[in-house]
C-alpha cells in the first residue's frame, strides 16, 4: 500500500464571517503529482498555507509523512519545498547566491549545500547564468530560478503554486518537464494552476475545490466521466433545414444540438461511435457537409460544469 504523504482531515479555517475552508479533507499518496484546481478564492492558497503552518486553522488535523504537522515541526518542514506563485528571490544576490541562501535555510553543511546548489542549477538549466543578477534574467529564466530555490534542498514533497504564470511556451515546457523529472526521482508534487492543459499533461490525480469545499476528485478520466457531455460532434455544413436538425436531435445519446454560422454542434452523452451515426444521418438524408470531426471533453468543460465557473475567471 502506498505511503500517505499528506492527510488533511476536516480542516476548517474562518476569516471572521467568511469560511475559507469548510471541513476540507484530502489525502495524497507518495509519488503522486496532485493537481489542486479551483477558481480564485476557492481556498487553494489557504489549504497550502495551513499545510505549511503559515496559517493557523480553527478545526481539523493535518498529517505529513504520517506525523502530525505543527508550526514547531521543523523536521517535517525541512522535507517540503515551496515554489511560490510570485518570484521570491533577492534582486541583490546572484543566481548562485540566491539558491545557496534558500538551500542554506535547510542544509547547514557547506560541502553538501554546495553540491545540492550545483545539482539544482543543473536541474533547471541555469549553468550559464550563475553569476547573473535576477534583473538580467528573462521571465522564463527567473521562473526557473524560483523553482531552483524551492527544490535545491531535495525535498520529498514539493508544492508548486502556479509556477508557469506569464512564462513563454518554451520555458513552460522546460518547467513542466522538470516537474515530471522531479516526480520521476521520487518527489511527491502538489500543483496548483489555472492552465488546464498543464494539469491534463502532468497530474495523476486532480482535486477541484470551490467555496472551501472539495467538489470533485479523481484521475482526469474519472473527472471527465462525471459530466454529462462525453463527446461533441462538430459538422461544417450550409443551409441545414430545421427538419433535418430535428432528425439529428432524435439520434441515440444526443442530448443537445445547436446550429450557428454554418456549424452544427451535436453534444452526446454516453454511447460509442456517435460520429458514425451522425455521418449516416447526413448520408441517408442526402445532405452535404464540408467537414466533420469529434471533440472529447476537456477538463475545462469538466470544471465549468462542476463549478459553474471558468477556471481563469480573472482573465
Amino acid at each position: 500500500m502506498a505511503e500517505t504523504v499528506v492527510k488533511i482531515t476536516n480542516l476548517v479555517k474562518r476569516y471572521k464571517e467568511l469560511i475559507a475552508l469548510d471541513n476540507f479533507s484530502l489525502e495524497i499518496q507518495k509519488g503522486e503529482v496532485f493537481g489542486l484546481l479551483g477558481p480564485n478564492g476557492s481556498g487553494k492558497t489557504t489549504t497550502i498555507n495551513c499545510l505549511l503552518t503559515l496559517l493557523s486553522y480553527d478545526n481539523g488535523e493535518i498529517e505529513l509523512f504520517g506525523e502530525k504537522m505543527t508550526s514547531k515541526r521543523n523536521d517535517l518542514k525541512a522535507r517540503i519545498g515551496v515554489v511560490p506563485q510570485q518570484v521570491a528571490v533577492f534582486e541583490e544576490l546572484t543566481v548562485y547566491d540566491n539558491i545557496d541562501f534558500f538551500c542554506g535555510l535547510y542544509i547547514k553543511d557547506g560541502a553538501t549545500r554546495k553540491k545540492y546548489v550545483e545539482d539544482a542549477i543543473e536541474f533547471v538549466g541555469l549553468q550559464e547564468f550563475t553569476k547573473f543578477y535576477p534583473k538580467k534574467l528573462s521571465g522564463g529564466l527567473l521562473r526557473r530560478l524560483n523553482i531552483a530555490c524551492g527544490i535545491a534542498h531535495k525535498p520529498e514533497l514539493i508544492i508548486f503554486d502556479e509556477p508557469t504564470v506569464a512564462v513563454d511556451p518554451q520555458s513552460r515546457n522546460k518547467i513542466l518537464e522538470g516537474i515530471a523529472n522531479l516526480n520521476a526521482q521520487g518527489a511527491t508534487i502538489i500543483y496548483t494552476t489555472h492552465y488546464m492543459e498543464e494539469v491534463e499533461q502532468l497530474c495523476s490525480r486532480i482535486l477541484i475545490m470551490d467555496h472551501g469545499k472539495k467538489v470533485a476528485i479523481g484521475t482526469k478520466d474519472e473527472l471527465k466521466g462525471m459530466i454529462k457531455n462525453t463527446e461533441s460532434v462538430v459538422v461544417n455544413a450550409s443551409d441545414l433545414e430545421p427538419a433535418f436538425i430535428e432528425k439529428i436531435r432524435a439520434l441515440n445519446h444526443v442530448y443537445d444540438v445547436s446550429y450557428h454560422d454554418d456549424t452544427l454542434t451535436v453534444k452526446c452523452s454516453g454511447g460509442k461511435h456517435n460520429i458514425v451515426h451522425v455521418v449516416d444521418c447526413f448520408a441517408d438524408n442526402d445532405v452535404k457537409y464540408r467537414q466533420i470531426y469529434s471533440i472529447l471533453p476537456t477538463l475545462n468543460e469538466v470544471f465549468l460544469e462542476i463549478t459553474g465557473k471558468q477556471l481563469r475567471d480573472n482573465d
Binding site: K77, A78, I80, V82, A88, F90, E92, G104, Y106
Partner: protein, 391 residues
C-alpha cells in the same frame, strides 16, 4: 549565520549611497574643521577704517587730540554739511557715523570733580554694526585717556597711551567655568569637537536610511518571508541576524567618523568631553537603527521609501533638531517640535558637553535618545506582527 552573511551580500548592492553619504560627511567635516580653525584664530580680526563725519564745536586740546585720533584711524570728513545732507548720507551708508564733540567737552573731561563726563554726540545707523562698533571704540579710547590723564599723565601722553592700548593685540582668554561636579573645564563654548560632532547624526541618518533600509526591506518582502517561514528557519534567528547585521553596519559608519574626529579634534581628542560626545554619537546611531526598523515595515517600495526618508526625514530631523542651526537661533515653535526628535537631544547633549557639563548632566539626554529609538522599534514590531496576522 546564513541570513547574516546574505544580509551583507545584499547590503553590498546598496553601498553606493553609503559611500556617497560618507564622502559628503567627510567633506562637511573638512569644511567645519576649516571654519573652526579660522573662527578661533585671533589673527583673523582686522581693524576697519570707517567713513565718519566730525564736527568739533569744543575746539579744546582734548577735542583736538580726539579728532587727531579719529583722523588716524578712520576716514574723517569735516567739510560743511547740512543736517538733511548728513541724514541722507547716513541713510545711503556713505557715512558710518556723524560725530559731534560738544562745546565744553574738554573742560568737563579735565575736571576731576565732574561726576558725569560730557558725552560725545554720535549719530549712527541703528541697523548697522559698524556704528555701534565705532561708539564702543570711542568710549573705550576716552575711558582709557581719562584714566591715564587723571593718573598723572599730560593730555598728549594720555591720548598717545590710550591710542596704543586701542591698537595693541587682544587675546581671548579662556573662561574658567565650574561644572556641577565641581571640576573645572577650560571652555567658553564653540569647541572644535562641538563644531565637528554636531552634524554627524545627519550623515549617519542618511547612510542608514539610504543604504541599510533597502537591504532590510528586501528581507521583509512578504513572498520571501513566506518562503523562509515555510522552511522552518526560526523567525527569531532571522530577526536577530538582521538586527545584528544592521548594528554592525551602522556602527562601522559611526566608527569611521569617530576615528576621523579623533584625528581632527586636536588637543580635545580623548578628553572627557570628546569621549562623551563620541558616546552620544554611538547612542544616536543605535537610536537611528531602531528608527530604521520601524520604517522598514512601511508598505512602500524600498527604493522610494529610502530616498524619501534619507532626504526629507533626515534633513527635517537635522533642521528641527538644531544640527545645522544653533539652538539659540531656533524659534520656540521649532524647539517645541524638536523636543520630540532624537536629534534635538543629541544637539542639546553636545552643547551641554561643550559648555563643560559632565556625564551626569547629559545622561538624561542620552536616555531620551534611546527611548525614542526603543519606542520606534516597539511600534515597528507591533505593526509587523499585525501585518503578519492580517496577511
Amino acid at each position: 549565520m546564513q541570513v547574516f552573511k546574505a544580509f551583507f551580500k545584499v547590503q553590498k548592492r546598496y553601498m553606493i549611497p553609503a559611500i556617497m553619504f560618507t564622502l559628503m560627511g567627510v567633506l562637511m567635516l573638512i569644511m567645519n574643521y576649516a571654519m573652526a580653525h579660522r573662527s578661533t584664530s585671533d589673527n583673523g580680526f582686522q581693524s576697519m577704517s570707517l567713513p565718519i563725519y566730525l564736527t568739533d564745536e569744543d575746539q579744546s586740546e582734548v577735542s583736538s587730540l580726539l579728532a587727531d585720533y579719529l583722523r588716524r584711524t578712520h576716514k574723517v570728513d569735516e567739510a560743511e554739511c547740512s543736517d538733511e545732507m548728513l541724514t541722507e548720507r547716513l541713510y545711503y551708508q556713505d557715512l558710518a557715523a556723524a560725530i559731534t564733540i560738544p562745546k565744553g567737552f574738554g573742560q568737563a573731561f579735565t575736571d576731576k570733580n565732574t561726576g558725569d563726563r560730557m558725552e560725545i554726540r554720535s549719530v549712527v545707523d541703528e541697523g548697522l554694526a559698524e556704528g555701534h562698533m565705532l561708539n564702543l571704540q570711542l568710549k573705550s579710547f576716552l575711558n582709557s585717556m581719562y584714566a591715564f590723564y587723571h593718573s598723572g599723565m599730560s593730555l598728549t601722553e594720555a591720548a598717545a597711551q590710550a591710542e596704543q592700548t586701542q591698537a595693541s593685540d587682544n587675546y581671548v582668554s579662556l573662561v574658567r567655568e565650574a561644572t556641577e561636579e565641581g571640576t573645572v573645564n577650560e571652555r567658553s563654548g564653540e569647541s572644535t569637537s562641538r563644531l565637528l560632532f554636531i552634524f554627524i547624526p545627519y550623515v549617519i541618518m542618511c547612510s542608514v536610511f539610504g543604504s541599510l533600509l533597502p537591504a532590510v526591506m528586501s528581507f521583509g518582502e512578504s513572498e520571501k518571508k513566506r518562503r523562509e517561514n515555510a522552511s522552518g528557519f526560526a523567525v527569531w534567528k532571522r530577526s536577530f541576524a538582521l538586527a545584528f547585521g544592521s548594528l554592525v553596519f551602522a556602527l562601522a559608519f559611526c566608527l569611521i567618523y569617530v576615528v576621523i574626529l579623533a584625528f581632527v579634534c586636536g588637543s580635545e581628542t580623548f578628553s572627557e568631553m570628546w569621549w562623551l560626545m563620541a558616546l552620544n554619537l554611538l547612542i544616536f546611531t543605535f537610536s537611528t537603527v531602531m528608527m530604521m526598523a520601524f520604517l522598514s515595515v512601511i508598505p512602500l517600495k524600498a527604493s522610494v521609501l529610502s530616498s524619501i526618508v534619507s532626504t526629507v526625514v533626515s534633513l527635517g530631523f537635522a533642521f528641527l533638531g538644531g544640527l545645522f542651526v544653533p539652538m539659540q537661533y531656533l524659534g520656540e515653535g521649532v524647539k517645541m517640535i524638536g523636543r520630540f526628535l532624537p536629534t534635538y537631544w543629541y544637539a542639546t547633549a553636545v552643547e551641554a558637553l561643550d559648555k563643560g557639563k559632565g556625564f551626569a548632566s547629559v545622561l538624561p539626554y542620552f536616555g531620551i535618545e534611546l527611548l525614542f529609538g526603543l519606542a520606534c522599534l516597539a511600534i515597528g514590531l507591533a505593526l509587523s506582527k499585525a501585518s503578519e496576522r492580517a496577511g
